[in-house]
Symmetry: none
Subunit: 188 residues, 4 copies
């Protein structure tokens, strides 16, 4: 795969797509994304073969950033509860403070055009969290449940939590805690 000349321009497109998709949804035109990125209409296709390709890459990139944010500053040791809570806090507060990114991600998550590879890679992004969750549930009531199911469950609770934190920012901290404890009760 030939690396395109300007990584800077690629990033500009990704950033523009984030903004435009979060504002206009997946129906946003490639033209409007290019304009937002400050490049020409057709140049977008130098960096991304098709619109679908762009959406796939955007999804993955946002997923990766989100996971990285969740893991930021995680102590290797420490008890599971604290480690998990720190991740939860990182995760949800990233979502609140990067609302365009999260909104774009939410739109992309329901996009028909994501390939299964992209989705898979997206899930792998959360491997570290999955491992932690695995250890948490080991002696809990869900120790027989497929991990994939568990991850989905956790994810969906996280999403709900984030939505509430955004809608009611004054009590964001409290909602964060509430969501966390709900998950903890579910699995631990």
């Amino acid at each position: 795969m030939p690396r395109p000349k300007s990584d800077e321009k690629r990033s500009a497109i990704i950033a523009a797509a984030t903004r435009v998709v979060s504002a206009e949804g997946l129906g946003a035109s490639t033209a409007s994304i290019a304009k937002e990125a400050g490049i020409a209409n057709g140049s977008l296709f130098t960096y991304f073969e098709t619109k679908t390709d762009l959406l796939n890459q955007l999804y993955l990139e946002l997923k990766i950033e989100m996971a990285a944010a969740a893991m930021r500053g995680l102590a290797e040791s420490g008890d599971l509860h604290d480690q998990f809570f720190q991740i939860w806090r990182n995760w949800t507060s990233w979502a609140v403070s990067h609302s365009e990114k999260r909104q774009a991600l939410a739109q992309l998550s329901v996009c028909d055009e994501l390939t299964s590879e992209t989705r898979l890679a997206g899930h792998r992004t959360m491997a570290a969290i999955a491992e932690l969750l695995e250890r948490i549930r080991r002696n809990g009531p869900m120790n027989e449940t497929p991990m994939a199911f568990l991850m989905t469950l956790m994810n969906s609770v996280a999403e709900s939590t984030m939505d509430f934190m955004r809608q009611d920012p004054r009590r964001a901290k409290q909602h964060c805690r509430t969501g966390f404890e709900a998950v903890w009760r579910m699995v631990a």
Copy 2:
């Protein structure tokens, strides 16, 4: 009296839209919906002023059907746990056995064009479930959490459960139970 606007035809459009939206997403063309319904292109607009209007009505209709299915045969008495489980089982099994409807509903739930009235009416659909949940959590750890948050949480766990039941139908029953118990631990 001329040919009366036929309920049958309206239903055919709604049914066609369900199928087409579940297969192609919200981008499905009104033409393809009309074709699927076996009517002329323009006739769709006799029954629904605009595509947006159709989507709103479809959403509401599916939501109502889903809620009705969930409540089917519910004993007025009985303990909360059993009542809730019955609902949960009704609900998730409706979703599994009407996967097109559920998929369409999933697409519609993220549709930008739903009016807030439609969404509100959609939520009201679940009022009976909400009441039950209210009584369940009364003495539980979430008795201070806003009901709206709780409902969202429950909903998202239900969605995840349904997804798993569909993906792995051989163990659908078990996944159903697992999801239920997870929610119960969260709130009760």
Copy 3:
């Protein structure tokens, strides 16, 4: 030609068409005309075979009414100048006080769908005026000019006069006189 049962309904359509065409132009839909007339969509076609047919008849009817208004109360005798001025005054003041009719007529006059028969019949409507004009010009500078040309000239001056009277109603009377005198100088 079978006379339709209800002349009243036919008139209602003609009146409605006048209003709607004057407001929306020739692009006005038959549906909106029917609605304005208080009848059903399809009933319009009981009275007029096609939209074109309606427009043709409307044109003619308005032309006839306009001509009748122009001739109203005309003394058989009296000198040409006075007779002509009376007609001119009748004519332009009808236009000003029936602005919807005149506007509709103006739209219709440039309509591609008028048949040549309709146009011809429209012109015949003005026969009495033509005769008068014929006598007026007899010893004037235009005694060799084809009458058709003369009529067209007079008509277009009348139209301009009416426009000005409508635009500037406070000096309507004066504009009426100015237009009249201009024509008189042209032909007499």
Copy 4:
């Protein structure tokens, strides 16, 4: 630099629109105009944002061309009568020999979608003629009449004259003269 927006193509569209509008009226479809211009359906919108925009520009362009034709070769000096007659001759003969342009212009003149700016600019086109007319009428019977009224009057006589010249080309020259003299008697 990419393919530059070609003036040639813009002109082709304008020319095509002239032909198609003169033949089919303002209802002519953008598709038929594009086809006549030999370009793709959507390319028309590269050059003109909307159909309305195209019609506005077409009107103005034709008006400008017409005015330029009228003024062609005008002697700065010479008496008013001769100057005005030359303009009149230029003007009417342009109309006769560019009948598509004139017909299109006639349609456009009654188009509801022309902006008032376009109309204003269209009138300014005739400023030089207006000035001449102003000087002509100075000592004549219409020296108190608003110039706008006078211009409208002159215009409508010119239109009638052109119509007759076209209908009866063998006597075009004579009709031209007749029309001119009629105007002259009106104002001078």
